[in-house]
Structure formats: structure tokens, C-alpha cells
């Protein structure tokens, strides 16, 4: 191989790496930009309804000042799951375009259906997003209210023993961050 050809090959590799880094970085930066609360509530569909409800809950305002933002609960942390969720979210763009929930009234009529979607996916992932922060092994049941610690106790020991708990967070904790939909039946299994 001639010296010139060698140099050309090296140049191509360097350009390839730089382009790769820029594209990859750009892609991830853009994805992270859509992964902020400011982005979520830039649509009035989210700002007027679910965001206002979140503001009144313990996930927004509490004694320690730690809070959860929309993506903390609604977007997975692991890259591959996050990407899948983002692809799913393109469906939301379609509904934004057609104004499926563009008034609070429309949102209310769809709320049960929308909530059921979230509950279903949370159940399927064993409440993965809850567990990004809440882990049984770090829970001090003695510091909980008597009822809470009583209810958590069997699941706590399942988790400590490495068994699969019979219940997942969302089974009991529906409506912790947003209003429950009209017609919600606490005895039903969603």
C-alpha cells in the first residue's frame, strides 16, 4: 500500500469517529431534551391537568425537598427501555396533532383509559420506575405509619429473601401522583 493510500484510510477513520461521536451525542442530547419536565409541560394537555394534580402530592412537595419529575416515573432509566418508550411516544404526537385530549373535559373522559394504560405497563415491568427510588431493602418499616408497615411487611421479607413478591407497587398505589379517574373501582383488579 502506498503512503498516500494509508494516509487516506487514516483520515477516513478519524472522520468516521468524529461524525459518529457527533451524531450519537446529538441523538442522545436531543432525547434527553425531551426527557425533562419543562418539555413535558410545554404542552397544555399535560400542564393543565396531570401536572397541576402532581403539585399537590407528596411526590412534588414534602419535608425533604426531594421531588419526582414527570420522566422519573414515566420514562425508564435504562437506555434501551428509554428508547422503546420514546418510540412509543411518537403515538402521542399523533394525538397532539389531532387534539384528542386538548381540553380538560376531553382529558377527563379519556382519563380512565389513559390511566389503565399506565397501570398496565407499570404492572408489566414490576413497577420498575417506582423502584428507581423506592427499594424494599432500604426501607425502614419502623419509620412508616403503622398501617403502611403492616401492609409492606410480607413484601419486604419476600424482597429480602430474594423471592418474587406477590404484589407490585402499582397494585396498591394507584393515584399517588394524579387524580383517580371517574368510575375507578378500588375493589377491581386493573
Amino acid at each position: 500500500m502506498s503512503k498516500r493510500k494509508k494516509r487516506g484510510g487514516l483520515f477516513l477513520v478519524v472522520v468516521g469517529i468524529v461524525t459518529g461521536v457527533v451524531l450519537w451525542g446529538g441523538f442522545n442530547t436531543a432525547m434527553e431534551m425531551t426527557n425533562t419536565e419543562t418539555f413535558c409541560i410545554s404542552c397544555h394537555e399535560m400542564e393543565e391537568t396531570v401536572y397541576q394534580e402532581l403539585r399537590e402530592t407528596i411526590h412534588f412537595s414534602n419535608r425533604t425537598g426531594v421531588r419526582a419529575t414527570c420522566p422519573d416515573c414515566h420514562v425508564p432509566k435504562e437506555w434501551i427501555h428509554k428508547l422503546m418508550r420514546k418510540i412509543q411516544a411518537t403515538n402521542e404526537l399523533y394525538h397532539k396533532m389531532f387534539g384528542t385530549v386538548d381540553t380538560p373535559e376531553k382529558f377527563e373522559t379519556k382519563r380512565l383509559e389513559l390511566a389503565k394504560n399506565v397501570w398496565r405497563s407499570m404492572k408489566k415491568t414490576n413497577s420498575r420506575e417506582c423502584r428507581n427510588c423506592h427499594k424494599f431493602i432500604y426501607m425502614d418499616l419502623d419509620r412508616q405509619a403503622p398501617r403502611s408497615s403492616e401492609q409492606h411487611d410480607p413484601h419486604y421479607w419476600d424482597a429480602v429473601d430474594g423471592k418474587t413478591p406477590q404484589k407490585t407497587c402499582i397494585d396498591c398505589h394507584k393515584g399517588v401522583a394524579h387524580s383517580l379517574p371517574e368510575g375507578f373501582d378500588p375493589a377491581a383488579d386493573y
Partner: protein, 141 residues
């Protein structure tokens, strides 16, 4: 005529004079009437296992736990998450009283009557606050 013209001035003067409080008047709260109010105590809702005893017959039971997470509105009644006929056994919570299932014609309904819907009209959580003024009230046992 002159008297009537002077009346507003007299009223204003009286208003200014009345703000002056004699220094020796004490309020029941234990400090001077014209002193700044004390910072309110940081009180919390009490959690009482087994419930709070009634003070008199037919008293609506008081709520022995926090209720700030539960909302009662047109769409939902958060209390019924545990206290409804469908969930009370599973949640080991007291069921809503039988009288609450009757409508105004005395007909027994399957779910809580709408006139009993707003639980916190009668059932209130209690704070860990001492009474501002001591009293020796004894409830009927």
C-alpha cells in the same frame, strides 16, 4: 348643620382612640392583646391505632389517621378506597356505618347515599395540639 359636618371627624377620632389598649388587659391566651400573635405550634395529625374513643353517644367517629392524600370530589371519594363495602375487609378498615346507606326515604342502597358522600363534614382527623385554654371536659363513657 354644623354638628352633622363634624360627625365624620368625630368618628375618625374615635377610631384612632379605640386602638389604644390599656396595658394591663390580658387575653386568655396569656399575652397582651396588642402583642403580636405567637408563632403557631407545628402540630401534626395524630395516628391512633384502633381509633379514637367517642366522647358522647352517636358521635361521628373521629379519623385516627392523616387524610391529606385522599380527595373527595365529584369523581372520586378517596376514603372509599378502604372504607367501602367492597374493600373494608381486605383493608381491615371499619366499614361506613349502615345508616349511611339509607337514602332520605329510608330505602337501603347498595352504595353510600349521596347525602353522606362528604365524609369530612362529620368525620375529622385530630391534631397533636394542646387545647389553647385548659378545660376539664369529660366525655360520656
Amino acid at each position: 348643620m354644623k354638628k352633622i359636618a363634624l360627625l365624620p371627624f368625630a368618628v375618625i377620632a374615635a377610631m384612632f382612640l379605640s386602638t389604644a389598649v390599656p396595658a394591663d388587659v390580658q387575653s386568655l391566651r396569656g399575652y397582651k392583646l396588642n402583642a403580636m400573635a405567637k408563632k403557631p405550634a407545628n402540630v401534626k395529625v395524630v395516628n391512633v391505632k384502633g381509633g379514637i374513643e367517642r366522647s358522647y353517644k352517636l358521635q361521628p367517629p373521629m379519623v385516627p389517621h392523616e387524610v391529606d392524600k385522599y380527595k373527595i370530589n365529584l369523581k372520586n371519594n378517596g376514603c372509599m378506597k378502604c372504607h367501602s363495602e367492597a374493600t373494608y375487609e381486605k383493608e381491615k378498615a371499619p366499614k361506613v356505618g349502615d345508616s349511611h346507606y339509607e337514602n332520605r326515604d329510608g330505602k337501603v342502597l347498595k352504595t353510600v347515599s349521596s347525602r353522606r358522600y362528604f365524609c369530612n363534614q362529620c368525620h375529622a382527623p385530630q391534631m397533636s395540639a394542646d387545647p389553647l385554654v385548659q378545660n376539664d371536659f369529660q366525655g360520656a363513657k
